[in-house]
């Protein structure tokens, strides 16, 4: 079971989306949530403190989700970070690329708190193995 106190980073350039995701996380009991507007900001934050999970959108300016994913996996300090990708229905093809690049799981929007919990549990189950 993922630790409810863990620090989570939510990345999306639309602040309403960040808020919605944050809301879902809060519903599941997570309180320690931080935000970033794009891949560049996200990387900067990830390097400075310990995050337990990153939930990131795909489509963002400056550095998109895929780039961010690759950058994290390349960096030895943070390469093991669990990452959940948020995608839209029509972007399923990109999921293959994301998995190849090392994403832990993906979730299609719009999603409910239940679906989100399932995805999170799956990520952390696998990690524990």
């Amino acid at each position: 079971m993922p630790d409810l106190k863990m620090k989570i980073l939510v990345v999306d350039d639309f602040s309403t989306m960040r808020r919605i995701v944050k809301n879902v996380l809060k519903q599941l009991g997570y309180e320690n949530i931080d935000e970033a507007e794009d891949g560049v900001q996200a990387l900067a934050k990830l390097k400075t403190s310990g995050y337990g999970l990153m939930v990131s959108d795909w489509n963002m300016p400056n550095m998109d989700g895929l780039e961010l994913l690759k950058a994290v996996r390349r960096d030895p300090e943070i390469s093991k970070l669990p990452i959940l990708m948020v995608t839209a229905e029509a972007e399923k093809a990109m999921v293959i690329t994301a998995i190849q690049s090392g994403v832990n799981n993906y979730i299609v929007k719009p999603f409910t708190a239940e679906v989100f919990k399932e995805k999170m549990d799956k990520i952390f189950e696998k990690l524990e193995k």
Binding site: D13, F14, S15, T16, M17, R19, I20, N23, D38, V40, N59, M60, P61, N62, M63, D64, A88, E89, A90, E91, K92, A93, M94, I96, T97, K109, P110, F111
Partner: protein
């Protein structure tokens, strides 16, 4: 948590509206420049983002419209189909529909829009779109990184309950996704989203601090007179002087918080001009400058509609058709220039066109027909006065009110709206050369510098900005000019009115000692008062139940000595003053 949801929805609406505002000008640019991957991508992403959030919040109509528009944008950006007017029109219509849907959500009016015709238009436009497949035309192919394969041709869309799902995306090689341009460096500008009401509250409080500071200054000055050598009084004086400086800085700081670039208003104009000029058969070249000029948020809100109206007029009435222009030896496309500039403590906005100018004879004829003036007046009036008649309520020179403008609800509303901002609007015109409309708005809305005066038993605050000078006046210096008193100052004649006369508080032609020379929109006149009481910075407080235009007052204030004093509305007074003058 229903409150939380309300806030999220409110944020969603604001952000979505801003996003749509940002992409509006892009459509017009695309039509001029042709295909631009970057712009197409931006439009795609904006619609995609709105769709995403709307999905979460359960706004299905928004999702449907956005989804269909997004599909078109996606194919355009990837070069699979070519841009065309019906395609762009359909997408533009979706943007408008999205705005409308968002408005309904915001207003909670429960109105549902019938999106079916739009959705089918979008689908049809997509199906009929010319594909890039098989054609060897360059420039249409997207610039993919080498090594990517692209599926030629467009599969017809599967449609289920209005959701178009493209099969393309599932087969396409992922590498053909266009990477976000990385050249654009995000500016280090850090911003905060703050509820406007919170800022207004702080502004109010700042105003109150200004009033209290004034009182302290007043008291301290008196103490200083009485106890000049007292050490404590000196310290108090020092502290209050400090407070004075800090308060001024705070005022400025808070005022700046509410200021935004006027680009917010100007960005809608390219689209507006495009939409109006088409059906009217006019070719318009739009020039916009000074959009970075910052103005108070309330100015942005109030001025948008007026400017739209002015621009409509310019395109509809001001500019001639291409044939007419050719016949006159002008370029076929008319030019409309919009500019904003800060001049001193005013914002000056200009809209000018190089069209046919305003026909003063037609204006006079119309005014006569509507019984706004008499035959005699129409003959005697100056060109300037005739021109300003367009600002009269109900005035319109279009014989048949076109759908776009000329329904007689025009320029007078503009003038009223600008007056509400304590500003002024004026117009100049030249036959066949065009017309220019100038709007002037003071920078600070709630706090102004004033000149305190006494007239009879009452004290008034006169806004200082329009005051050019003050003079002591002896009875002999007053001359008469066609029934009105006047003063000759350095060779120029200025009409002169007693304040009591202007305000209608007294009919007596009492003596007065001082004249305050005022300049409103380049019209000068003098106000006679009994005493000049010095300058004071004042917070304009509105008085419940008071209507500015009929009372000649901007509001009231509490002065340094704790009394309530009315603030004069010089623009309103100038109308009375100038109305009384016939040349």
């Amino acid at each position: 948590m229903p409150d939380e949801m309300e806030e999220i929805v409110a944020e969603f609406i604001t952000e979505s509206e801003e996003t749509l505002d940002r992409i509006d000008p892009l459509f017009v640019e695309l039509e001029i420049k042709g295909e631009d991957k970057e712009m197409l991508n931006q439009i795609f992403r904006s619609v995609h983002t709105i769709k995403g959030a709307a999905g979460f919040l359960g706004f299905q109509p928004v999702v449907d419209v956005a989804h269909n528009a997004e599909s078109i944008m996606k194919k355009l950006r990837e070069g699979e189909i070519r841009m065309s007017k019906p395609l762009m029109d359909a997408v533009l219509k979706s943007v408008d529909m999205l705005r409308l849907l968002l408005r309904h959500i915001k207003q909670k009016d429960g109105v549902t829009e019938n999106t079916a015709p739009l959705l089918s238009e979008l689908k049809t436009a997509l199906e009929n779109a010319v594909t890039a497949a098989g054609t060897q035309e360059s420039g249409v192919r997207s610039q993919e990184p080498a090594g990517s394969s692209q599926e030629p041709g467009v599969r017809s869309q599967k449609t289920e309950d209005g959701r178009g799902i493209s099969e393309e995306s599932e087969i396409r090689n992922p590498q053909s996704v266009i990477a976000e341009p990385q050249a654009t460096e995000k500016e280090a500008l850090q911003t905060l989203r703050v509820d406007v009401n919170k800022i207004d509250k702080v502004m109010d409080l700042t105003g109150e601090v200004v009033l209290v500071r004034n009182r302290l200054l007043n008291i301290v000055t008196q103490l200083e007179h009485q106890y000049t050598d007292d050490h404590d009084v000196q310290s108090l004086l020092e502290a209050v002087s400090n407070l004075d400086l800090i308060t001024s800085d705070m005022q400025l700081g808070v005022m700046k918080m509410r200021m935004q670039p006027i680009a917010k208003v100007f960005s809608k104009f390219p689209r507006l001009v495009r939409d109006i000029s088409g059906p009217l058969g006019k070719l318009v070249n739009l020039k916009v400058s000074g959009e970075e000029t910052e103005v108070d948020k309330s100015v942005i809100e109030q001025i948008a509609d007026s400017m739209v109206h002015i621009i409509r007029n310019a395109v509809d009435h001001g500019l001639e058709t291409p044939q007419e222009r050719r016949a006159k030896g002008k370029a076929e496309a008319g030019t409309i220039s919009i500019s904003a500039e800060q001049k001193g403590n005013q914002i000056v906005i200009e809209v000018s066109d190089d069209g046919r100018g305003i026909n003063l004879d037609r204006v006079k004829t119309k005014a006569l027909k509507q019984n706004l003036i008499s035959e005699e007046e129409s003959v005697r009036m100056t060109d300037d006065a005739a021109l300003n008649m367009i600002f009269l309520p109900g005035f319109s020179t279009a014989d048949v009110a076109t759908e776009i403008s000329g329904r007689g609800v025009g320029m007078d509303v503009v003038k009223t709206n600008v007056s509400k901002l304590n500003g002024s609007v004026e117009i100049t015109t030249h036959k066949d050369k065009g017309s220019t409309l100038t709007i002037r708005i003071p920078l600070t809305l709630a706090i102004i510098q004033t000149l305190m005066v006494r007239s009879g038993n009452a004290r008034y605050a006169v806004p200082l900005a329009p005051v050019e000078e003050t003079l002591m006046v002896s009875k002999e210096a007053i001359s008469e000019m066609s029934g009105t008193d006047a003063l000759v100052i350095r060779g120029k004649v200025y009409p002169l009115f007693r304040l009591t006369e202007l305000l209608g508080t007294s009919q007596e032609k009492a003596d007065f000692k001082y004249a305050v020379v005022v300049n409103i929109a380049d019209k000068h006149f003098c106000i006679g008062v009994d005493e000049l009481l010095g300058q004071e910075e004042v917070v304009i407080k509105s008085v419940a139940g008071m209507n500015s235009t009929s009372s000649f007052l901007l509001g009231a204030t509490i002065t340094g000595d704790g009394r309530v004093v009315f603030i004069l509305d010089l623009t309103a007074l100038s109308r009375v003053a100038m109305g009384a003058v016939t040349v």
